[in-house]
Amino acid sequence: MIAAKRPEQRLAKLLMIDAKGEVRHFLRHTLAALFSPGDLLIANDAATLPASLQGIHCPSGEPIEIRLAAWVSIHDPTRFTAIAFGTGDHRTRTEDRIAPPPVASGDRLALGTLVAIVERRLYHPRLFRLRFLGNRATILTGLARHGRPVQYAHIPEPLALGDVWTRIAAHPIAFEPPSAGFVLDWRALAVWRQRGVGFATLTHAAGLSSTGDPGLDQRLPFDEPYRIPECTAAAIKLAKSRGGRIIAVGTTVVRALESAVNADGSVRAGHGVASERIVGETPLRIVDMVLTGVHQPGESHFELLRAFATDVVLNEISVAVGEHGYRPHEFGDSMLIERRPRVGCDHPQAAEFTSLWPSRTNSTLEQWE
């Protein structure tokens, strides 16, 4: 896995911000020593599909790249929301790519062994709904043989499918990797278990993170289906009842959990679709902290962070990220953000910063400055 193999990953950094807005810097491999007994980490175990397909737009005979961006329904494996790109490859930044041939309803696309029909254009010339001919098995075979994972301009060497699977990847329904999960390894999970820190998963179909079009990007994330296992909902209930914190590994986990919250504050197990955007005004009812990549103002992920921290704190984070050379993007450094205390303080521990991470005086954590 490229994320783990790269030498700089071993020196990846972790920026931590507590509820008071205090910023601290750590090396990321100290993550296993963080958190307190009773806390519960929840990660997204979606595996990533080879969602980028090169092929031919049959009516024009011109080359086209299709990126599957979202499911129409998780129960229908033939239909997808997709985005088209013209000739070129990932070495060109998404926003600088040549426009694809004009795509219209009924157009046929030859994508390796797969054939797809454009069902209808959506609200942008490059965005449409397509239907593959065939069933789940033939589509999976076609994607496995001909598709490649979505590539990134900042990583010049081609990414193979294994490079974009996290260690816990289980269910192949994501279109881009739930990249916060790259920080997890089985050693960290074992250490947390020994220390009484819980770990559970959900499966959330992370959609495309960037379309190359500012207007389209503003509509991200698309609706994303998810599934929360019964055992995860039960673990959340138990952790909450004991005063433990819920730590979401990745923004997709925040989105799924906050979408599945019941009126009584419990989490619904089963299938759901996250359709609401999480923004500054969104009350966080389940998640106490988010472990995520380094995001910049303007990104949809950054908007989600405004539910956790005030703009003043987020501004301090941006300054710290710049000053200390934190690397953004899917394979970069990480941030751990504790949400600001809830209005009315429904969670007694949230009002005062106690010992979410080991105290400064007896810390065994490796601070890099």
Binding site: P50, G162, A170, H171, L189
Partner: protein, 240 residues
């Protein structure tokens, strides 16, 4: 050994599923109601066995690193997860069998790629799915097909025997490490069977003196059932 237990809904992947023991396992498991995905190299044979058994056929070569994740995405995508992985595909090394001093390095490499690295890579790629199954109470088992050549030093079986010995030890270590995650690892020796692999290794063998792969498959499924939780919480198909 009769298998009476219903395997309905159990999600199983078998490598080397178009011949010998692998084929017998695919037929037995699919016949008992398990949802089976199998892997083999030859498209025509894969199509034929898929048509015969109703299992999902995947064309791929366990010995090729590039094939592993494309295989894994088809396994978990078609089965909506995974409870059991049976690493059965095997390579002899030199054919006919050769003394080690006559074995080309490339032949040993090939045996290690298929018998050791392939199972390691595929298990690693599918480990998240197996642990997810264990976490949800369905149980998770990895069965690595071994051989008495993994234990005994038979002349001319150097490439095969050493690769199977390494797989056996890999299985034992993985069993220790994965215990806390709820994944069981078994190394099972099916004995000398009347299979195409055995015919390549020992061309003159009397088939009546060899075990039927169907009998070995039944025994393996028995061990598998013993390793699974008695009342698994099998989920309905949940993902496309």
């Amino acid at each position: 050994m009769p298998i009476n237990l219903d395997l309905k809904g159990l999600r199983v992947a078998v490598t080397g599923g178009t011949r010998g023991l692998g084929l017998a396992l695919v037929r037995l498991l699919a016949g008992r109601g398990a949802r089976v995905a199998f892997v083999a190299r030859t498209a025509r044979a894969v199509e034929q066995i898929a048509g015969e058994t109703g299992a999902f056929g995947i064309v791929g070569d366990i010995g090729r690193k590039e094939d592993i994740h494309p295989i894994a995405v088809q396994v978990t995508g078609n089965l909506s997860g995974l409870d059991v992985l049976i690493n059965n595909a095997s390579a002899l090394g030199p054919i006919p069998l050769a003394l080690l001093a006559d074995t080309e390095c490339e032949e040993l490499e090939q045996a290690l790629m298929v018998n050791l690295l392939g199972p390691f890579r595929l298990t690693k790629a599918l480990f998240g799915a197996l642990v997810a199954s264990a976490r949800e109470g369905c149980g998770a088992v990895v069965i690595n097909i071994s051989s008495d050549a993994a234990v005994n030093a038979y002349s001319s079986w150097g490439a095969y025997g050493s690769s199977k010995a390494a797989l056996r030890h890999l299985t034992a270590i993985w069993a220790e490490e994965a215990k806390t995650e709820g994944v069981s690892f078994l190394s099972l020796d099916p004995g000398d069977m009347d299979t195409p692999l055995h015919a390549l290794a020992v061309p003159g063998a009397d088939p009546t003196m060899l075990r039927r792969p169907e009998d070995a498959a039944a025994e393996i499924v028995g061990s598998l059932i013993a390793a699974l939780p008695s009342e698994p919480a099998r989920p309905a198909a949940v993902h496309p």
